[in-house]
């Protein structure tokens, strides 16, 4: 039975890196979507005000809603980021568990 700690740590780091690479792209795209949504919302609200579809009071309410939606978007980005890190950690620990299993079996 043998257990190469250095090799295992390297494998764990590689697994975490490989996972986080794909996942961090997802988090970046999530943030970009929230910012794009914010722009679209402000554009739609401005257009509605100019067209006379909403009055000044409604404009202020819609702007407040946009802030609330933006905050929710940031919560979503936080969740996606945390999930990315969690998946990287899980991938690293999977490597560790497999290495221990191999050492025991060997």
């Amino acid at each position: 039975m043998s257990f190469d700690l250095d090799a295992t740590l390297k494998e764990m780091a590689a697994a975490a890196r490989a996972t986080i690479r794909g996942q961090s792209k997802q988090a970046g795209e999530a943030l970009r979507r929230v910012l794009d949504d914010q722009k679209d919302a402000l554009r739609q609200i401005t257009a509605a005000r100019i067209a006379g579809e909403i009055d000044e009071e409604e404009l202020q309410r819609q702007l407040a809603n946009t802030r609330l939606v933006f905050e929710a978007g940031l919560s979503m980005v936080r969740a996606v980021s945390k999930a990315s890190i969690q998946k990287a950690l899980d991938a690293a620990f999977d490597v560790l568990a497999r290495a221990i299993g191999r050492a025991v079996a060997g």
């Binding site: 970009r32 309410r61 809603n65 929710a72 919560s75 979503m76």
Partner: protein, 161 residues
């Protein structure tokens, strides 16, 4: 692992598995994916979108609060259940925040409809968009979580951004 090699195999196996489980269990940052929550988000999003679809089909002069009151109650009940389900799960603060904001916006919208006793088309269209974005954020946050989320995304065709 020189010391480990002197341990009997079964004892080492149990110890190793326990250690790995403990290590993996200790490092939790976020709740796992929950399919029922995902389904509730989709169902609530449909309810709200249908509410606006029907409202916008109705003549603007014929949108008194009383005509929509039962739908407001129905949707609020569902949204409260969604908040509760999210709150009950550990390490789920971000999704809980999103669900609370959906509920808050719904209650504010209901109060305004009641106060105005009407719902202008311009406001309704913008509110419909806001709810659409909120539900998308709730869904994306849920589906990003580790666990069955990746498989479910592939099965349903829904994608996180």
């Amino acid at each position: 692992m020189r010391h480990a090699s002197r341990l009997p195999g079964s004892r080492l196996l149990h110890g190793s598995l326990l250690l790995a489980a403990l290590l993996a269990g200790c490092v939790r940052l976020i709740a796992g994916f929950d399919e029922q929550t995902r389904n509730e988000i989709l169902a609530d999003a449909r309810l709200v979108d249908r509410f606006y679809g029907e409202l916008l089909e109705t003549d603007e002069a014929k949108r008194p609060y009383v005509a929509s009151a039962p739908r407001y109650v129905q949707v609020e009940t569902e949204l409260r259940a969604l908040v509760l389900r999210n709150e009950a799960r550990p390490l789920n603060q971000d999704s809980t925040d999103i669900a609370r904001k959906i509920l808050l916006l719904w209650q504010q919208t209901k109060d305004l409809h009641k106060r105005r006793d009407g719902y202008p088309g311009g406001s309704a269209r913008l509110d419909r968009e806001s709810f659409g974005r909120l539900f998308l954020y709730a869904l994306t946050a849920e589906q990003a979580k580790p666990g069955e989320g990746d498989r479910s995304r592939a099965e349903t065709g829904l994608r996180a951004p």
